[in-house]
Symmetry: C2
Subunit: 150 residues, 2 copies
DNA sequence: GTGATATTGATAATCATTATCAATTGATAT
DNA sequence: ATATCAATTGATAATGATTATCAATATCAC
């Protein structure tokens, strides 16, 4: 899915779901979704707030927190925990249902990856345990391998 | 490993590692490790503090937090995040290097499991991404399957 | 345009966790 | 057994991320 269509689908997702659930589509919410769609990292609430205020300086930090919670409940945004003491966020509409993160513990860099075998295994493990898988958290933490030429 | 030997190995682990790192083996630390060894759940710091105070009511919450951090650094205790807004802890000495958790989102029950295939896959994915795996967080969240007889 | 109600901004409050510092304790040398 | 020293502790203030409160504002159906 190219970027423009992805952006459109997130906003359309926002509008459709808000309408379905009797929630308002406010300017603040549009801005927040737009900023997250344009982000290529996983900002925390404070970072997101800084970017949002560049578009509309009246939007408050409380609105950012509340809106993130609403968007998460609607599965437009995914909440992540990379172990640095605060929640981080990214758009989830228009992408694969899940992807995972490898965090470079030296640089802090976050590499996204998808692995179908892992998806299958999770489902199988849940089934073996007698559960219907609803959600999961997976983050890998590692250090860059020294290449053979190093 | 039966329970008594497991308990002994955690305390022995505490003593050996403290000595190796020039740290004191204090009464508070022994109590905290003992309580965690006896726990069959994953208490948060406050729950652990309540149990610890039944043994020695002078031990402060700050000591519990500091001690948990030290024990985590020494790999005697593992810190977990089950998504309920606070850290949870369990003994890791004397057990498999890793195990994972399935959290029943309806009851809050935590089921521990180990899956060798998952361990292998994690290592393989890390390698494919160019990383040396150092740590990971994995929690599965689900709801109990209705059995065929239900 | 109006009425109903969801949402907002500003900030106080909450909560889990950590920092501070004087007092205490553990380990070691003698 | 005692002295010494530095790690550790208890009590609590402080911190930072997040949430609650409430009057004011904005959205949306009609």
């Amino acid at each position: 899915m190219d970027l423009v269509k992805r952006e459109q689908s997130a906003l359309e997702g926002l509008e459709a779901l808000c309408h379905a659930k009797g929630l308002r589509i406010t300017g603040q919410r549009r801005v927040i979704v737009q900023i997250l769609m344009d982000a290529d990292d996983h900002p925390d609430a404070d970072e997101l707030h800084s970017m949002v205020r560049k578009v509309d300086r009246s939007i408050s930090i409380a609105t950012v927190y509340r809106t993130l919670q609403v968007l998460e409940q609607m599965n437009i945004v995914a909440k992540r925990d990379f172990g640095d003491g605060r929640a981080r966020y990214e758009i989830s509409v228009g992408q694969r249902d899940h992807h995972h993160h490898m965090i470079d513990i030296e640089s802090g860099e976050v590499i996204e990856f998808y692995n179908q075998e892992l998806e299958d295994l999770k489902m199988r493990i849940a089934d073996e345990l007698g559960f219907d898988l609803v959600d999961h958290h997976l983050e890998l933490f590692g250090t860059r391998l020294a290449s053979a030429g190093d």
